[in-house]
């Protein structure tokens, strides 16, 4: 996808030194486009924990390159294998909710298991991280194509009139490597000439909708309107939303979806107004080991200052303003769980299915 008309991806190796992983520092979008170097496992841990990179798929790919950097570091350790195991465990703890973090690190470790020397491990890790990255792009493209059919069908029913799609948080290309998860069908529809307009939830706290989704839609030229998170229900009551598509940080084997806090409220409103509610769920974000999302998905609690302070641009500088009395206590849950019963379907890289164990099993029989 494009930033300032230049094709970009969200993570890459420095062209002169493949020991340097580079990413956009997403904490400064849309006001500053800042690239930072990740040269150590500590850098990767920090980048994931502090949301320099965010979005379940990008967290996974960044962690994969993190394992490559860990292998590089292991060269200078007395016990390289122990170092790799322990540092990978630490990296897994950077954020609790997105299952892609675990998934990618486990994929890397499984691949490295039977590689003998550290030197070989480095080469294999780099190759595998590149493969996970490329696979993520392909996954997005496939979800885009499957999701496009849903949008096409709505456009057909509306005789080509504007299709209004609501999304929450950023499950855009900035949350992946390219194309996005929830946005992949949107970009595909846009490129196919379907008249689409996106309602962008600002997505408090941290405002990933306002700062990332609005930014990336703007950069690709897709029509959109920013709204407060409170607004979606009103729009749905008045026929102004045809479809909701969101991403997921972890989906259970029966189709419960953990996603950015507030997703559940939009799912309730969509259900109440008979509006299709889809979740773009690459299999890397499906946790086939658990069945009860509300009770079993760990929900991250972040710093209360992300609620009390809001970051934005003032006189060309990024500043944070306090929105409540300084002594007010706040709590900051990062995610909530939308029960499968409220979800029309899951868009995966293998096709669209209902949010249920039975339906998921048909697409991913090897996982059950």
């Amino acid at each position: 996808m494009k930033i300032n008309n230049k094709n970009c991806q969200t993570i890459w190796l420095n062209e002169n030194d493949n020991k340097i992983v580079q990413v956009f520092d997403q904490r400064y979008f849309p006001h500053e486009i800042k690239v930072i170097d990740l040269t150590s496992s500590d850098d990767v841990y920090f980048a994931i924990k502090e949301m320099v990179v965010r979005g379940a798929p990008l967290i996974g790919v960044t962690a994969a390159y993190g394992v490559y950097l860990i292998c590089l570091e292991a060269q200078n350790k007395e016990n390289p294998n122990e170092y790799i195991t322990n540092t990978c465990e630490k990296l897994k703890s950077a954020r609790p909710t997105a299952v892609n973090l675990d998934w990618a690190i486990n994929e890397m470790l499984t691949t490295l298991e039977h590689v003998n020397t550290t030197k070989e491990k480095i080469a294999v890790a780099l190759e595998k991280a590149n493969a996970i990255k490329n696979e993520d792009i392909q996954t997005s493209i496939k979800m885009g194509e499957f999701g496009l059919e849903i949008i096409k069908e709505i456009a057909r029913k509306k005789n080509g009139a504007l299709v209004n799609i609501l999304t929450h948080c950023n499950a855009g290309w900035l949350a992946t490597i390219d194309w996005g998860t929830a946005t992949a069908p949107i970009y595909k529809a846009f490129l196919a000439g379907i008249d689409v307009h996106i309602w962008v939830d600002e997505t408090r706290p941290r405002n990933q909708g306002a700062s990332l989704t609005a930014f990336e839609l703007n950069q690709q030229g897709v029509k959109h309107t920013l709204i407060a998170d409170n607004t979606g229900g009103h729009l749905m009551q008045h026929g102004l939303v045809d479809l909701v598509i969101v991403g997921t940080d972890r989906t259970t084997k029966n189709g419960d979806v953990a996603n950015k806090i507030g997703t559940y409220l939009k799912a309730l409103a969509a259900y109440d107004n008979h509006i299709p509610f889809y979740v773009a769920a690459p299999s890397s974000s499906i946790d086939f080991s658990i069945a009860d999302g509300v009770n079993n998905i760990p929900i991250e609690t972040r710093d209360e200052n992300e609620v009390k302070y809001i970051q934005g641009l003032l006189n060309n500088e990024i500043k944070s303003v306090l929105i409540c009395p300084e002594t007010t206590p706040a709590v900051n849950y990062g995610f909530d769980v939308t029960p499968a019963r409220l979800i029309t379907g899951l868009i995966t890289e293998r096709g669209v299915c209902g949010a249920s164990e039975e339906e998921l099993k048909k697409l991913f029989p090897e996982k059950y």
Copy 2:
């Protein structure tokens, strides 16, 4: 209620000159406590339109004093009666959703109808505005007492354990003259020694929860926690909310409730989790002329910059920061409508009733 331990009301006459109406400029809470003078009908129009004062009951009382100022102005007009009629009509247009604005101005005009001279009108208008103000306080106190019984019953069922109450926006004493609407039962419960804790939705756009509700609960010493608007559903799923109480800007005769945008989403979540959802609805905010809230209550659209910019404190100054690309379009609906079917009950000054025409009729038979 108290600000800095001093008993206050939200509107009063200057003690040395009763031609000056004084109010807190609520646009600067909690960071600055600023009193401003309203000395003309233009001042009152501005104060209501720009949300210097806000909250349906306070809008009503401010408008009542506005009519008093209009009568003062009428003294110098060629046709005082025409001036009063026209200026009152203009004042009614300051904000479209809260029905108290119409209600209070109509009450004033009815009272003035058979008063002959402008001089007499001034005296009668002042007396009536004072009466409307005092009635508002009594209404809040009565709603507080009726609502207290609901909280008492929950505390009893929980054997005295903490009662968690969620509220949206500010239906606090700052939205009325004293005590509040949704907060009146909370303050009564607090004073009765019931252990209450309030989840305060920050309430985007304009953040009246963060800037007003958190501020006033803090000033009275009531336990509370600020949350993003997205958070309520998660809390309800996990048993962390015992009761929701919100205010209303306009309630239809069958119990549909227009309130700050986002209220509908909380009502859906409460319904989905079997949590009682009450609306504190003084009769001045009930529009007995309409029955279909979603289709017939006019919903105010405000400046998109209230979505794109967020105001807060930075280095002891109040500043606004831009949270999205500067060119991003935004839309700003001020209210949504919660259908009666999602509402457990209405707390009125005559008692608590179900949200239905049948139930409202029992309490307000003269209106049907």
